[in-house]
């Protein structure tokens, strides 16, 4: 170095020191600002939405089913239903109805206009025949009886509306039959009513606007409705109002998720701050840990929102876990820097950090391919967040090396822990035997079983679930089964439906089915009907109608098609009942009074027929995904074994793999005992434990039982337990299972991981 330069450096040393200090802070703020700007840019460009629909999280099943269920049932998510019973039910109905109208939620129910319906169907008279009419035109005598009976009635709106259009009354009979099937409720003084178990219920249905399904709007609307109901309950104490609808579930789930997110986030943050300050006795350590966590959150959020335009609120709840993992990097980094005599990180730390990032990221990256949106989102968020935290640790944290010192009491504590872990090492066999014994005992008490019934994941209040079930009973749907028929084209669909109905009626004569083919017979059927009435006319069956009305019988030759029906007064109903896709046509319908087994038989015999049960479909989806998660766990163990074998020796790799397997076995056994059965969220938690376990095993193998390593791993485990322990307090079953799994897993791996060491060694590669 030239003398002049050395002189300048010596003269300007304090200034240089200040300059470095400023540069250090600037680089940290530049780093954070860069991430924040990236996040802002993504938000501006992507305009992401936060979703809270629990069903949107579930695995997507058959694409054919996915597309039809969106078409058929999406509107149901926007419907709210009220049932009112009691002394002042009518008044409460009217007050609530007025309130709904005033608040832009008009009743959904509309009675089709008889005249309009008649005018629409008139050109097809004779091509559409009711079952009664078919029987009536058997011969002249039966038709006369039918005809006289119709005209003798005091009033029949369809006779009156159609007799001038179709004197044979085939149209009147057809419309009467169809409208009777469609009419589920009574209409009493313009109010919908239904009788159920000797009580009368007034019903109100309202349609929520699309934009009410943002969480905020859902909560506001739900709160506002509940306030109105509370007021009604005060004014009319002897009247009971029940409410149901996706709106209320969304609101309840979102409130709970938000509450838990805030509570767990705050508590874990406080716990982490306390631990850091306790270990380092320095504000700088707190700042560096916060910087790492903030980097993880900003980086993770930016990538998450760039990949997904719609993020589920539960993703954010699970994302709290990132804090627990990301902060580990900071702990390891700071402890390594504080003990290092050279500038920067030790080689061992860099290698361990890299291996840790690699294994954890690989584990979480596999979630990206998950059919469950939630898992995919968590995977993306955590991988991106960890990468960001890793970069922050390597680039930013190291600049504060000279200010990082471990407090003396912590070093003493580390020595005690060292002694404890070494004694565990000596008792290794007993610890392993005890672990196996625990697994065996758990298995004997509650054999491991997976229960993926999606209803177990429902965190909605019990009252809401009860209301939902009660309203299904009022609607007569509690005993019904939704079926979906697929076909290549419209005509094939109508014919399949007709054939299905005939087959069901043969097996269960009391079966009730409202099919599209009832309102719209296939072309073949219409032609057949036409031929039938023409033949009957030739036989003189319609003479009575011709004599009474003075009008000659004429049969229509015009064919009713689906496209035409979709312009009819029944279009809103038909549109919701049928879907015309590019590759198929489908229609859904409800079947009641038929044993489920019979319908299942029909469905299994016909690939075009589906017995639609959302709960069963979701549960089946979860089961499939559970199996693939089990495979992922197996693959992760194999991957880890290969990594261990590559980086460490075979014998060591064997021990490490055995510990991993033992840890997973203990987790699953204990969770099975505590929960009764396992769910997919236990497997998901196990995957996370696996990632953390591999970290610990790698760090132990590289840095052995060094004081810094013990402190870092203990700190990591403690902080993770704080964070994940919080999740075990959640009342959302999915989050509870996840938290419990990780808590058990962390305790287990904390005890078992050091057992993979042969003898305590000093730091490798220092």
């Amino acid at each position: 170095m030239p003398i002049t330069r050395l002189y300048i450096l010596t003269i300007q040393r304090p200034a240089l020191r200040n300059l470095i200090k400023v540069a250090r802070w600037l680089s940290a703020f530049a780093w954070l600002s860069g991430l924040a700007l990236l996040l802002i840019a993504v938000i501006v460009l992507q305009k992401p939405r936060i979703d809270s629909d629990i069903l949107a999280l579930m695995p997507q099943s058959d694409t054919r089913i996915d597309s039809v269920e969106t078409h058929f049932f999406a509107a149901n998510k926007q419907q709210v239903m009220f049932s009112i019973t009691g002394d002042n039910a009518k008044q409460v109905h009217d007050r609530l109805n007025n309130w709904l109208i005033d608040n832009g939620l008009p009743a959904r129910f509309n009675v089709p206009k008889i005249d309009t319906l008649s005018q629409f169907y008139a050109p097809y008279a004779g091509r559409l025949l009711s079952e009664d009419y078919r029987a009536a035109i058997e011969n002249q005598h039966t038709f006369s009886a039918f005809y006289y009976q119709k005209l003798s009635q005091i009033a029949d709106p369809f006779v009156s509306a159609t007799i001038n259009l179709d004197a044979s009354l085939s149209l009147a009979s057809f419309l009467t039959e169809q409208m009777q099937k469609l009419q589920t409720f009574n209409l009493e003084e313009n109010r919908l009513t239904v009788s159920y178990q000797d009580a009368k219920y007034y019903l109100l249905f309202a349609q929520i606007k699309d934009n009410a399904f943002g969480i905020e709007q859902a909560q506001q609307l739900s709160t506002s409705i509940k306030q109105q109901l509370q007021q009604l309950a005060v004014d009319f104490p002897h009247t009971k109002v029940r409410y149901s609808g996706a709106l209320f579930h969304t609101s309840a789930n979102a409130s709970q998720a938000k509450y838990e997110m805030t509570l767990f986030g705050t508590l874990s943050l406080v716990a982490l701050v306390a631990m850091i300050v306790w270990v380092f006795r320095s504000g700088i350590a707190l700042w560096l840990a916060s910087l790492t966590v903030m980097s993880a959150i900003l980086g993770g959020a930016a990538v998450l929102l760039a990949v997904f335009a719609q993020v589920h609120i539960l993703t954010l709840v699970f994302a709290v876990t990132l804090i627990g993992i990301a902060i580990d990097y900071s702990f390891h980094g700071m402890l390594d820097l504080s003990s290092s005599e050279q500038k920067g990180y030790s080689r061992g730390l860099k290698l361990a950090l890299f291996l840790s990032l690699l294994t954890t990221s690989l584990g979480y990256a596999s979630l990206f391919f998950s059919p469950m949106l939630l898992l995919a989102q968590v995977g993306v968020f955590v991988v991106a967040g960890l990468f960001s935290a890793w970069l922050c640790t390597l680039l930013i944290t190291r600049q504060w090396q000279h200010q990082l010192i471990i407090a003396a009491p912590i070093l003493n504590l580390a020595d005690k822990l060292n002694t404890f872990l070494q004694s565990l090492l000596h008792l290794r066999r007993y610890v392993i035997i005890a672990s196996v014994g625990l697994i065996a005992a758990c298995y004997l008490y509650a054999p491991i079983s997976l229960n993926n019934d999606v209803r177990l994941l429902n965190a909605s209040p019990q009252a809401l679930i009860t209301n939902e079930a009660f309203h299904l009973s009022l609607l007569g749907r509690d005993t019904g089964q939704i079926m979906i028929m697929f076909a290549d084209d419209e005509q094939a669909l109508l014919e399949q439906l007709t054939t299905f109905k005939a087959a069901v009626k043969l097996r269960a004569p009391d079966a009730k089915l409202n099919l599209l083919s009832d309102l719209l017979p296939s072309k073949v059927m219409q032609k057949r009907n036409s031929a039938l009435v023409e033949e009957k006319q030739k036989q003189g069956v319609f003479t009575v109608s011709e004599n009474i009305t003075g009008q000659p019988f004429t049969a229509s030759t015009k064919t009713l098609t689906l496209d035409t029906l979709l312009t009819s007064p029944l279009a809103p109903l038909i549109t919701q009942q049928v879907m015309q896709g590019d590759e198929f046509v489908a229609s859904w319908f409800m079947v009641t009074d038929v044993p489920e087994s019979v319908l299942a038989e029909f469905a299994s015999a016909d690939p075009q027929l589906l017995s639609y049960n959302k709960v069963a479909l979701l549960s089946e989806g979860l089961t499939h995904y559970s199996h693939s998660l089990l495979i992922t766990l197996g693959c992760a163990i194999l991957l880890a074994a290969l990594l261990f074998a590559w980086r460490f020796k075979i014998k060591c790799a064997f021990k490490q793999t055995a510990v991993l397997m033992l840890t997973i076995a203990i987790i699953l056994s204990l969770c099975s005992v505590l929960q009764g059965s396992l769910s997919i969220f236990n497997l998901l938690g196990s995957l996370l434990v696996m990632a953390l376990s591999i970290d610990y095993l790698v760090f132990y193998q590289i840095n052995q039982l060094s004081r810094e390593n013990i402190i870092a791993i203990s700190l990591s485990a403690a902080s993770s337990m704080w964070v994940f322990g919080m999740l075990a307090m959640s009342i959302t079953p999915a989050i509870y299972s996840f938290g419990l799994t990780i808590m058990i897993g962390l305790v287990t791996i904390f005890v078992l991981a050091p057992l993979t060491l042969a003898v305590p060694k000093s730091k490798e590669n220092r």
């Binding site: 009675v111 206009k113 008889i114 005249d115 009886a145 006289y148 009976q149 005209l151 003798s152 009635q153 005091i154 009033a155 029949d156 709106p157 369809f158 009156s160 509306a161 007799i163 001038n164 009467t176 409208m179 009777q180 009419q183 409720f185 009574n186 209409l187 009493e188 003084e189 313009n190 009513t193 009788s195 009474i548 009305t549 003075g550």
Partner: protein, 176 residues
Amino acid sequence: MIRLIIFSVACFLTTLSYASELSLNKSGKFSQEKYFAGFAKPFISSGVFVLEPEQLKWQVTKPITSTLLIKNGQVYVENAQGEAVAQPGAAPFVNLLQAIITHDLDTLGKQFTVSDDTQAGCSLLQPNDQLLSQLFVSFQLCAEQGSVQQVRLNEHNANYTIIHFNYSAPSAAEFN
């Protein structure tokens, strides 16, 4: 829905006669003329009715036999086997009949707009109910000495029905 309307109107008409004389037992004959726009002749049917404390029986006997029963707050139709088959959905209108039977004008006033008809001794009832108003423009009720003699049902499409009541008791042979 349709049966509901039919039964409700049937109930309404048959109890009008009862309402005019608050006797618990009442019977008689009726004849019904249905006029359809564009048709030369009306369609005529006739029958008998019996009102008892427990039930009301409205039976068409010509040109065919068809029986309607109202009892226990429910409406029934006799099928070909003579069994009374309950008609779901008609129950709410039984309450309306009670209002008519008891001459509860307050209740009737909520469901109908009642006014004097141009014809002496007749009243005009215009339904406020959505379902009934889809079918009928108005009912014309004509009574003499407290007994309903004639009811005219005016429909939207210029069709109308006139029912005449005769309070002479029907003989047993007139019932099937």
